[in-house]
Subunit: 333 residues, 2 copies
């Protein structure tokens, strides 16, 4: 099940409630991704935008601000900023991962080249900083600059953690906190900051985003072994072929006997993969029930996200954010 | 002649006068390029920093601020910010250009991989934004965010302008204004802004940096055909092999007869380069005297830089900045 294919999903309910705000976010994104001088820029960005991302991160910013009673204009700029940062990291990720498919379509690095993906990504990063400067809030700039650094740090850590069987669940958590949860957390936090609510609520929003992002990424990594590429838009086994150590494999390596360990050493550390290896890996994940254990971890983080919102009074938006946490894991429930 | 090999160069005089400030800039750069979690980051950045860049851009910020009578602390942060942006663009440039040598040493993408260069570059960009947020000045953030966007835009424009014989001197100027002059201009401008001088002086500093940067890049492009790799640290003919259209070739294409044009179409547009083509290209540049014409353009921009500083009262720092403009072109005088 994808996040897009039903009408009563929390994501869709959020999208309806926030439709006016989101329309302004989309207009701002379209306006700011243009470039007078370099037509390659809108070509590449339009390709990504038309692919119809879920706009999950900017929606978090809008929802957080609105739940906190905000009625100004900055949340639209912040939501667009968050989406620009996200889009920039997607472009660079696809270069780093040498991916061929994103959101069910060929990636920009395949349609144009790696050079365009690197430089247009840089352009979007810079655009995101221009937008956040316009909010006139040093605190949100601080939060979003920190998030950007943490994202890059997580991605670099992932590079060195890949192909290394010593990578354990602590390192894995650090990687996904960086590459995914940091932006979810910042997206929620700046919504509260721009609304000017008390520190306790800002911290709660940040905790919600952090746990939601971790849950989201664990599910993503699970679907890489357990998903259907026609609905996830991803190629099953990508992480395996790229020799990335994600939770299902890390758990299986921890339980491996000598023969199994030799298998993991060959396919992950030495990268000597042969036909049938993915199937063998899947059999080992099944034998040790690590897909099920990974699913449980995702559920646990979704619960943690929901608990973080306990101090907010009941409201429709709070309800939708709670449901969203359930929904992220419903992809694997 | 490189910028580094003599003792009475304006660059060295500036470095001596600004030694205390620069020491603090270097300490800040070292502190902020560290990463607790991802050891690959300091490895890559140390490689670049130890290669001993000229620190020309941060020195411009320090000199501009001091010339404007500034006595606070922000100029050190701004100078480090500027150097971080520059270093990030170097890392990404080397990926885009598939370069093997930078500052006379193997490039990071060669020693590690393109992935590390992309992601560590992103990390340094994010670090630069963290640093500029610490200055608490929305105006300098605005200037530096704009510069970052303009740099990326110039680089993307260069991608599409390369391999296209329709690229004329106007497009070339736009490319180098983006990829090089934008950061020179911003480096000088933020020095004046942080010192709080009148708008006229801030505009003059920006104009100085813009013209100096243009002159600097024209000289760089000239040296790519006319330099000595043992002093420039560059490989002669790189631009030719990468089919980049820079001023010497653009001028030669404009004067080409039919046979010469066929040569440029083959080597630049079609990229079917053979042994002896670089020598043939050099012969055409000599026949049409385009290296000499390019040199004259660089000198003209250096004059423009100097004139921009006319409204500042005489001072040692002003003298050094004037000499610096001469010195940038002295590499080809």
């Amino acid at each position: 099940m994808s996040l897009d294919d039903a009408s009563q999903k929390p994501h869709d309910r959020l999208a309806r409630v926030l439709a006016d705000d989101m329309e302004r976010v989309n207009a701002l994104i379209r306006a700011r991704m243009a470039s007078e001088h370099a037509p390659r820029i809108p070509e590449v960005t339009a390709h990504l935008v038309e692919a119809g991302g879920k706009r999950l991160r900017p929606m978090l910013t809008l929802a957080a601000a609105r739940m906190c009673g905000y009625s100004g204009e900055n949340h639209v700029k912040l939501a667009a900023t968050v989406e620009f940062i996200h889009t920039a990291t997607l472009l660079h990720d696809d270069v780093v991962d040498e991916s061929a498919q994103r959101r069910g379509r060929p990636t920009a690095n395949l349609l144009w080249d790696n050079k365009s993906s690197v430089l247009v990504g840089d352009y979007l990063f810079a655009r995101s900083f221009q937008l956040m400067v316009e909010t006139d809030s040093l605190r949100v700039m601080d939060i979003l600059a920190d998030a950007s650094a943490t994202i890059a740090e997580g991605e670099v850590l992932q590079l060195t953690a890949a192909q290394n069987l010593a990578t354990d669940e602590n390192v894995y958590l650090q990687v996904i906190r960086g590459k995914t949860a940091a932006l979810f957390a910042a997206a929620c936090e700046v919504g509260g900051v721009t609304a000017g609510v008390e520190e306790e609520k800002i911290a709660a929003l940040r905790a919600y985003g952090d746990a939601l992002g971790i849950s989201f990424q664990i599910v993503d990594d699970l679907l890489d072994y357990d998903g259907d590429s026609s609905t996830t838009g991803k190629n099953v086994g990508d992480d395996f072929r790229e020799r990335k150590l994600t939770m299902p494999v890390i758990k299986a390596v921890a339980k491996a006997d000598a023969e199994e360990r030799a298998f993991w050493v060959r396919v992950i550390e030495k990268g000597r993969q042969e036909d049938g290896d993915l199937e063998q890996a899947l059999a080992l994940l099944a034998r040790h029930e690590t897909l099920e254990e990974t699913r449980q971890e995702a559920l646990r983080w979704a619960e943690e996200a929901k608990q973080a919102l306990a101090l907010f009074p009941e409201s429709d938006l709070r309800e939708m954010l709670l449901d969203l946490a359930d929904y992220v894991v419903a992809r694997v429930r």
